[in-house]
């Protein structure tokens, strides 16, 4: 589904990804797990097309999207939804407008139906006229997910979306994420530094350190890994 081949990337001459190769399978929830600065968010941004790698090739659905420092397919043509760490909800738009803004559909009634179906699915219908600052943390989270899903993406990228929530709410949203993966037949790439979160949700986990992959496997495989970094990381 998503293939990264020999990707190298720098920020201010500092290497963040070093010849990294990774294959993400369709309809799976893959967690990128690692500490701060290990390059997990960069991988998401490269897949989304928000940045171009220094070298290497990225393919999505067997289509070359980035190659030789060139953006072949722009972000909005990659059929991707992105949930940012800070959620990036547009503060001057209502809940309704936040979801409707990206729709290209011209017919107002169709837009309305699409948006309200989404709001209904996430239980946000009564908040359609509210602004993001008037929502609770969990509602904001659901709004961000609704906004990404309304465009019917095949791939959903989630950059530590639950980092600011309490444990109870986290558990509830994680259930939602698993449900939408099934209902929307999504491939999800989920970035987190919290191994408990990854264990609770992932089909596959990719453990990263200093821009390199240390281990790839299912939850059970990661738990049993002999890799020293992985063992050290899971202890904390």
């Amino acid at each position: 589904m998503v293939n990264l081949k020999n990707i190298t990337h720098y920020y201010d001459n500092k290497s963040v990804l070093n010849n990294l190769s990774l294959n993400i399978e369709e309809n799976q929830l893959t967690c990128l797990l690692g500490g701060s600065g290990c390059g997990k968010t960069t991988i998401l941004r490269l897949i989304a097309g928000l940045e171009i790698p220094e070298s290497g090739q990225i393919t999505i659905d067997n289509r070359n999207v980035t190659e030789k420092q060139k953006l072949i397919i722009p972000p909005h043509e990659r059929n991707i939804g992105f949930i940012f760490q800070d959620l990036a909800l547009w503060p001057h738009f209502t809940v309704y407008k936040n979801i409707a803004f990206g729709l290209t559909e011209r017919n107002e009634d169709n837009v309305r139906n699409t948006v309200f179906n989404m709001l209904d699915f996430f239980g946000l219908q009564e908040y359609s006229n509210k602004y993001p600052h008037q929502l609770s943390g969990g509602q904001k989270q659901l709004l961000a997910i609704s906004r990404a899903l309304v465009l019917k993406p095949k791939i959903l990228l989630m950059d530590e979306p639950l980092s600011n929530l309490d444990v109870k709410l986290k558990r509830k949203i994680l259930e939602h994420i698993r449900k939408i993966k099934q209902d929307f037949k999504l491939t999800i790439i989920y970035v987190t530094h919290d191994h408990k979160e990854a264990f609770a949700i992932a089909d596959k986990i990719v453990v990263l350190d200093k821009g390199k992959i240390e281990e790839i496997g299912t939850v059970e495989e990661i738990k049993k890994s002999n890799n020293k970094f992985v063992q050290y990381f899971l202890e904390y």
Binding site: H9, Y10, Y11, D12, N13, A48, G49, L50, E51, I52, E54, Q69, L71, P75, H76, E77, I80, G81, F82, F84, Q85, D86, L87, A88, W90, P91, H92, F101, G102, T104, Y131, P132, H133, Q134, R147, L151
Partner: protein, 520 residues
Amino acid sequence: MGRKLTTHPLSKVINLSFIFFAVMPIVYTLGIALFDDSLLYNLQLIEKETFTLLAKSCAIAFTVSTLSTLFGTILGFLLYKTNILFRSFFKLVLLIPLFISPYILAVAWKDFFFLFFNTTSFISSNTGVIIVLTIIFTPLAMLIIGSALSNISSQLEENAIMTTNIRNVIIKITLPLIKPALISSFVLIFIFSISEFSVPAFFGVKVFTTEIFTQFSAFYNHTLAIFQSLLLIFICISLLYLDRKHIGNSPFLSVSDKGMKTKNYSLKNVKAWSMLFLFSWFLISVLLPFIILFIQSFKNDASKFIQAFELLKPTFINSIALAFFGAILIVFIGFSAAYQSAVRSRKSFDWILLVIFAIPSTIYGISLIKFYNQPELNFIYSSYAIILIAYVGKFSFISSKLIANAIKQIPNSLDEAAQVEGITFFSRIQKILIPIIMPSLFTAFIISFIFSLGELGTTIMIYPPGTEIMPIKVFTIMANAPQSLTSSMTLIVFSITLLLITSLYFIVKFFTKKFSFVNG
């Protein structure tokens, strides 16, 4: 390096237009001066006659910037870091001298000495220039230092309070933390003071800018005027360069109080003295000049005031319209520069704006005349367009800084989220960015409008024949007019500026409330 995406060709068009209309005059003027036949002769003149005057201007600018930064620090501390009474009122009214033309205060203080001491010899001197310029520029220091003080996280000071007394906290924690703002304040005020033309000209004090004006306008020695200008440009740009290098990207001109929680000090037993200081400053810088101008205008009867009003009446619409369109252009250029610098991390255009901003007004005026006084460009030279170009050149940097500070507060992810959804570049700018930074755009518009309305240093050099705008009319008439007529005209300009500032302040307040989404 991480590659930045999507550069819009429109920004290139804007940059190139600005460079052609506002920067080329400087390059052209310096170019022709360097290839002038009288180069060596003029260089000798510079050596012989100019350096004493330059030293005098530097000494005046140094004293003004030291005093303004000192008073600005005290006022900034009282208004931004204490619980003193009427803070909001004083924060607003003490800024007035910054927004009115400097010659207004010069006229008022000359009137004061004439009224009470029957002589103006004390104020028409170097000391007078220092006093008036200090009154004018202290609000700028107050604004810069006050913004820095309100951006200090309370935790930094509270941590220190647990280990030492308040005096030590202020000296060892608070002041070192605002060092960049103190340096910025000093440097900017030095540049403004050394470039100031109208106050020394009104007091008849010979300084470097008046000398350049004389060489250009009275002796028509353009080459010498340009060489003298080069010295001033060199000083101003070097200082700004060092300042920028030292303080990096600190938002030296921020008008919002957004940010972290700040620590406020209780004044306790110095409360009365602090209030007295605040009120005295308000009296000296705003109230007294207004009252004096009022008394002088109506000393005998209202005839001089009526005459002044009739003289200025034709200028009202022109001045306001020019300032209005100037401010629109300034905000447009400022926005483009701010976007390139804050979002795309491209600082080159920002630097160009900074360099033009640092060039003293008189010199910028000379450059515009030299460049546009050619048959092909005469349509600009002989129209209001040259004044608009001057406004845009002089004030785009300030607008760009204000807007960039606002853009920097918006997470990149808001734009990126729209980018992923396929929203076009213009749609993202129009529907995401602009609505969010609308209060800052309004603030930038109003500050640009007020500055353009009062601009004199450049306009006095370039105004086309028959131009009817307020500062020019007042300044040209005041040379031969009786004192009461000068005072009346100044009072009218002062009142109009105050009226506009007040109305625009409420408009900004309305829009800030309307567009305040983030804080609910």
